[in-house]
Symmetry: C2
Subunit: 217 residues, 2 copies
DNA sequence: GTAGAATCTTACTCAGCAGTATGATTAGGC
DNA sequence: GCCTAATCATACTGCTGAGTAAGATTCTAC
C-alpha cells in the first residue's frame, strides 16, 4: 500500500449494493465485508442484542442462512466489527512510530487520525461494543489489541516527556484521558451534521495540547 | 440535606444484607435500593443483556418474582440505574452554580466530583448502559438529564471564557472532550487498585486544565 | 387471636431468536 | 451441454429468559 492514509469509506456506501446487479459466485470478499459493515451499522443503531441476524439479513436483502455462509456465528460477526474498528487506530500508531519529530508532534498526528477513525461508522465497535458479548478467547484478543493501543499512546507520551515537548503528571492517566475524550466521539458524532470529522479532530488536537487554561502571555 | 457532599456508599456494602437478619414487612425502601444496586453491579460485570433477573435475584438470595415486587420490569430496573448514576453528577453541577469564583474554579470542582461519581459502582449506568434498551419515553428522560449535564458543563466553560479564566476554541467540543475523558473512567477504573478515585480526580483536573504542553516559562 | 395487607415462592407460559437440516439454483470448467 | 462446487432460501429445532398466576407465609392493627 503506497498511500497508507486510512481509506475511510464514505457513509453513502450501500453495502447491499454488493448483491444488487451482480450474479452469484462473485466477490465473496466484498460481500463478506458488506455483511460486517451492515452488522456494524445495525449494532450501532439498535445495539448488539436488540439486533437479530434476521434484521441484518433484511438490511442486505438476503436471508439469515446467507449470513452464516459468510460468518460462523453472531459472536464472530461482532468480533469482526471490533477488528474493523481497531485496525485504523493501530495503523495510525504504526505510522507514528515511523515519524520524525518530537513526541508531541507524533502524538498530534495520532490524535488526528484517531478522531477521524472513531467518527467513522466503525467507531461504535471500538467504543461501545461490550467484550462480555464475546467468548473468553475472542474477548482476550480484543483486549490485547486495545491494550496495545493504550501502550502506544503511553509510549508517545513518555517520548514527549523525555524530549521536553510534553509535560504531564502521570502518563498512564493522561493516556486514559486522551483515549476517553477521543472514544467519546463515537457517542455524539453523527456524520453529515455541521462539523466534519476532520474539524472535530483539529479542535481536539488544540484542546488536548493546551487544556482549559489561557496560555500565559 | 445539610451536608450535600455526595455520600458514596463504599463498595464493601452488601446489598443482600437488606434481607438477612430482618424479617418481612420492613424497609421496603432500602430493599428496593438493594435490588437496584445489585442489578447495577451485575449489569456492570456481565452486561445488561447477559444478566437475567434470576441472576440478580440469586445475588440477593431471593427469587425472581421478588424483584418484580419491587420494580415493574427489567427496563425500569435499568432506568433506575441510569438515575442513580446521573443524580450525583447533577448534584455536582447544582453545587457549582452556588459557588463563588471564576468559571475555571467552579469547573474544577465539578470535574473532581464528576470523576469520583463515575468511579463509583454506578458509573457504568451513566456511561456504558445503552438508551436503546429503554423504551422511547424512558430513553427520552435519560437523554434529557444527560443533555442537562452537558449544558451545565458548557455553561461553566462559557462563564470561564467570559471572565478570562478559560480559553478554548469551541466550548461545545471542549465540553464533549471533558465529559468523554471523565466518562471513560468507568471503563478502566476498578476500586481497590493502586489509585483512589480522589487521586484520579486530581490528576484529571491537572490534565484538563493544562493539557499536554509544558507550561511556557 | 384473627382479618387483611404485605411479602415472597413454586411452577408455570410464551415469544424471540440463534443456529441448522435440507434442498434449490446458478456459475464456470471441461 | 453436463458436473461440481459455490451460493442462497425454505422451513424447521431448541433454548433462554422475561413475565405471570396462584398460593403460601408472615407481619401489624385492632
Amino acid at each position: 500500500m503506497p498511500d497508507s492514509i486510512p481509506t475511510l469509506t464514505p457513509i453513502e456506501v450501500d453495502p447491499a449494493a454488493a448483491w444488487r446487479g451482480r450474479r452469484r459466485r462473485q466477490d465473496h470478499g466484498s460481500k463478506r465485508e458488506a455483511v460486517i459493515r451492515t452488522a456494524a451499522r445495525a449494532f450501532d443503531e439498535r445495539g448488539y442484542h436488540n439486533t437479530s441476524l434476521d434484521d441484518v439479513a433484511a438490511a442486505l436483502g438476503v436471508t439469515k442462512p446467507t449470513i452464516y455462509y459468510y460468518v460462523a456465528n453472531k459472536e464472530q460477526l461482532l468480533f469482526e466489527c471490533f477488528l474493523a474498528g481497531l485496525e485504523p487506530i493501530r495503523d495510525a500508531l504504526r505510522r507514528a512510530e515511523q515519524m520524525q519529530g518530537t513526541g508531541r508532534d507524533r502524538l498530534r498526528e495520532v490524535v488526528r487520525d484517531y478522531a477521524v477513525a472513531i467518527a467513522s461508522e466503525y467507531g461504535w465497535c471500538m467504543v461501545r461494543a461490550e467484550h462480555q458479548d464475546l467468548g473468553p478467547d475472542l474477548s482476550a484478543q480484543v483486549r490485547t489489541l486495545k491494550s496495545e493501543i493504550d501502550r502506544g499512546i503511553r509510549g508517545l507520551l513518555q517520548a514527549g516527556m523525555a524530549d521536553g515537548s510534553i509535560a504531564v503528571t502521570d502518563t498512564k492517566l493522561a493516556a486514559f484521558a486522551i483515549a476517553g475524550a477521543l472514544n467519546w466521539i463515537a457517542h455524539w458524532y453523527r456524520a453529515g451534521r455541521t462539523l466534519s470529522s476532520a474539524e472535530v479532530a483539529e479542535a481536539f488536537v488544540q484542546f488536548l495540547e493546551h487544556g482549559l487554561a489561557p496560555r500565559s502571555a
